[in-house]
């Protein structure tokens, strides 16, 4: 395995950013799912 130091690289901003992406994905999907459920 590579240098232990790698895990200590500060990538906190990236973590928050990708979770932001995840939330956009979930919100859009849930919105569309709700539309789908509400229609016949």
């Amino acid at each position: 395995m590579a240098n232990k130091k790698k895990s200590d690289e500060n990538l906190k901003g990236s973590l928050y950013a990708v979770f932001g992406v995840g939330i956009i994905i979930i919100l859009l999907w849930v919105y569309c799912f709700d539309l789908f459920i509400g229609r016949f």
Binding site: A2, S7, V18, F19, G22, I25, W29, R39, F40
Partner: protein
């Protein structure tokens, strides 16, 4: 291969989300029967008018089935037969449609009724019409110059009487 700790968190989160979506869709589909059109029946597309039920397009009340009405639709360039559909609110309706020539769409705007009509195949969709209103039916697959002339109307009326 080295993967950063945060990337692992993200992939676990992402994959879990996708799996959750699939489980919701899967339960909807295989437990509650919410499938898109998966019609398997075939017919001779050149003899649609002589083949039941398409020899009698329109709205038909039926007995002893899992649904109350059958709406039989024949699509051809560039129109739908019947040109208008009226069903009572709350009825469980089976839409049965096919094409006499090329690919057509059968989309009831503002609803989940959205099927491809393919020559030789019967497309089917069962739903309970639980909203009053006029819903525009459009062909949503390009079928030629008159593509947008191809439309119809689904009227859901608040009455227990069929016409």
């Amino acid at each position: 291969m080295h993967i950063h700790k945060y990337e692992k968190y993200w992939l676990v989160f992402g994959v879990t989300t996708l799996v959750a979506f699939l489980i919701i869709l899967g339960i909807g589909a295989f437990h509650q029967g919410s499938h898109p059109n998966n019609g398997k029946k075939t017919l001779d597309y050149e003899k649609v008018k002589e083949t039941a039920p398409f020899d009698n397009p329109g709205v038909h009340k039926v007995e002893g089935k899992d649904w109350d009405y059958e709406v039989v639709v024949v699509a051809s360039a560039f129109n739908y037969n019947p040109p208008q559909i009226e069903v009572p609110l709350g009825a469980k309706v089976k839409f049965i449609a096919t094409s006499e020539d090329v690919m057509h769409g059968f989309e009831v705007a503002g609803t989940n009724i959205n099927m491809m009509l393919e020559p030789g195949y019967i497309s089917e969709y069962v739903t309970e019409v639980n909203k009053v209103g006029e819903f525009l039916i459009v062909c949503n697959e390009y079928c030629g110059t008159g593509h947008t002339m191809m439309h119809s109307m689904l009227k859901v009326v608040d009455s227990n009487e069929s016409h």
